[in-house]
Symmetry: D2
Subunit: 237 residues, 4 copies
């Protein structure tokens, strides 16, 4: 029988990029200088310029950048991710064209399991030991049985696109996603949770895990831009 | 115990629209006439104009239209639908904010179950009686058990966003989608299967069921445009 | 000789629309209620819901709306307008396909003519009588001479697309533009100037004249949405 | 008096890029292979894959690429360029924030000047010597006088955004534009003129000059993709 694997983490790997703070500065300067505005180094002046663009929400200079990530998440996270349309390109593995791997998400110990309150303003708390055992047990059992059924149907030569209908939304999928700094900041403004955010957000924990990793990569590539975003209330320009 | 319902059909209801053939004609005529180009009636001349725009792929005049649909499909269909980004707006029911209804998709008798060939060029055939019984039986069993687990976790006050992780991708979801005639034709060009299509397509049957219903509504609202689309090889302009 | 006409105003006519406050409410409610969420009347509850969506920047429910305008502006205004890409569709009269009308923009008495300060933070003041006379005189003279040259070249059977190269950017053009409430609010947030705007804006006066007319139309169609936009700092959700 | 410069060419400089044929292949393969699909080298197999994607119009794998160009063109060309919305980002020099340079476009000897036929199907012929002399003479004279007026108004401390209203659409502007391979091919399909194009196009010569240079750069970066585009009738996937 096929071994089923359970994971509680997300993979976000930066595959390629053409994204640095200098790109923002050269694009912004063309409005006041015209012509070729590429200069050698990012200077203190650029830091001020980038902060001004962020604060006053001049978004277009942030678009002349490109980052491609390989992401592995459960389907329920991918579903939320793919709602982001503007400035995002996707290619995902297909349940019609390939046999899906038996890898499923299960919440780690410490993942809040109880919600109190109403839509848009839920509070989460940790959950009891019994809740954790039931969640963990049920997810493992249902996932395993669903995957057994999937395999049995495939073995009977049922089409993949039909057999996959039994699989739960916590099965992992993988996709490439390409975005620019502006669209990425829009994603981060909605899918992270931070004290200093001007607009309150309620992202599901599992997509926060993806977004937090993306923000780390973003900070490393474009430190001035990422800092200006955070300093100005985490509102995408 | 909760009653679980199985369906083999898709719901596509036209909710509202501002979309008629005359809209295409008035938008196209502004390039050669300027100013206000609204005339009273759609004429034979408009049919020719719309056909010319379609054939030579002048797409922008088709965008000054709007159609909003309410769609009910399984999640695996919604996932394919939401890949359409340009000219599409969505709002979907949320597994975080509401308890999901126990309604699941099961293939009808006659749905081809076997696939032969390689990705991008699969051929489907009907499947044996035994295959049909196994598919139908497994989908019913796995869906029912998953929903029982979902309900048990909710009864234990586990958060909806956690409990839903056990639910399979054949559970129904509902969403509003708004598009224009251009983006709709792009969708139809990829998600329907017709002999006269210039570009071969391999849409999954279940999304064809949605697309075919949308095309019927489109034909009723914009008969000249829908006819020109079909006549010119079903390539979106 | 061709009579040349000068105008100091902008035309914004609402051509068609499928846009009301109830559209926002039904799209938003699907996330918590699922299924068909159209109810008969816009209620006080909807006003609260719309305000909540605006404040917390849930933008997608505002997209299930459509407004088409016929706009007449000088080319320099159309250039700024067409920078708006997401959620905007355009068809414009063509200087290649039609002979352009001899209608040109000239600033009205009272249009501030002097700018002090640096890019992004200019202050404008009214200008002297001499400045006004020179601006007005030069614009009239240059426009008239350019149009004479344009006509002379056309009379010699020079192609329209070549002859039009002499025409100044204050010549009027006309275009249809279709947008939704979300993209329109984004436009208004950048192209109007109001005391209560959270983000300072510096739109050119002539595009403000267009935006202000669009906002009036928007208010009449969607009063709750327009009020919530204004109340929440005029930031597009 | 300010020296006025006339040019008959366009500048298209590739500023930065993250765009190679291998990017298309890795993004496409994820649907059938899942996970990390980056392999070392572009192989013959990739050429076949890219050709298949182009022919059957699977467009999304071409989006995981990025090219930024610096373009210098007259305003009437920039106006056509900026009509391309999806997958394009722009930053342009501003007539509000900087004094515009006195550089104007004038057709070179050999630029067809006469048009015969009707919109959408014009034929162009070379034009007489007299036509050429009038076009060239008028453009030079009108541009020079307009720029003199512009400078005089600026010298009187009239705001740039007002003074620029007298400038003709053949004045040069400069902008950065970022696109991906898919959006670039869409642009090329409409703005170049080739015998082997499946859909007839009638782009103005001056934007062809820009598009042809962009295609040369594209070919150098992504030879397999550019060849597949040309081989398959120059229809964007």
């Amino acid at each position: 029988m096929t071994e089923v694997t359970f994971r509680s983490d997300m993979t976000v790997e930066l595959i390629k990029h053409a994204a640095e703070d200098a790109d923002v500065a050269f694009a912004a300067r063309v409005s006041t200088l015209g012509g070729d505005t590429r200069f050698n180094e990012v200077s203190d002046k650029d830091a001020g310029l980038i902060n001004f663009l962020m604060r006053d929400r001049h978004g277009s200079p942030f678009e002349h950048t490109s980052m491609t990530f390989l992401v592995e998440t459960p389907i329920f996270v991918a579903r939320e991710f793919f709602r982001h349309r503007a400035g995002f390109s996707y290619n995902e593995e297909s349940g019609r064209y390939k046999e899906l791997e038996p890898t499923f998400y299960v919440p780690a110990d410490g993942r809040p399991l109880r919600q109190v309150g109403k839509p848009g303003a839920y509070e989460f708390s940790l959950g009891t030991y019994k809740q954790f055992m039931c969640v963990s047990g049920d997810i493992r059992r249902v996932s395993t049985e669903a995957y057994s059924s999937y395999k049995r149907l495939l073995d009977m030569e049922v089409a993949r696109e039909v057999a996959r209908m039994v699989l739960p939304v916590n099965i992992y999928t993988s996709f490439y996603v390409t975005c620019n700094a502006r669209s990425l900041m829009h994603f981060l403004s909605l899918r992270t949770k931070r004290e200093n955010a001007k607009v309150p957000t309620f992202p599901q924990l599992e997509i926060q895990m993806v977004a937090d990793q993306m923000e780390e990569q973003f900070k490393a590539l474009m430190p001035l831009t990422a800092a200006a975003f955070d300093k100005n209330g985490r509102v995408a320009p």
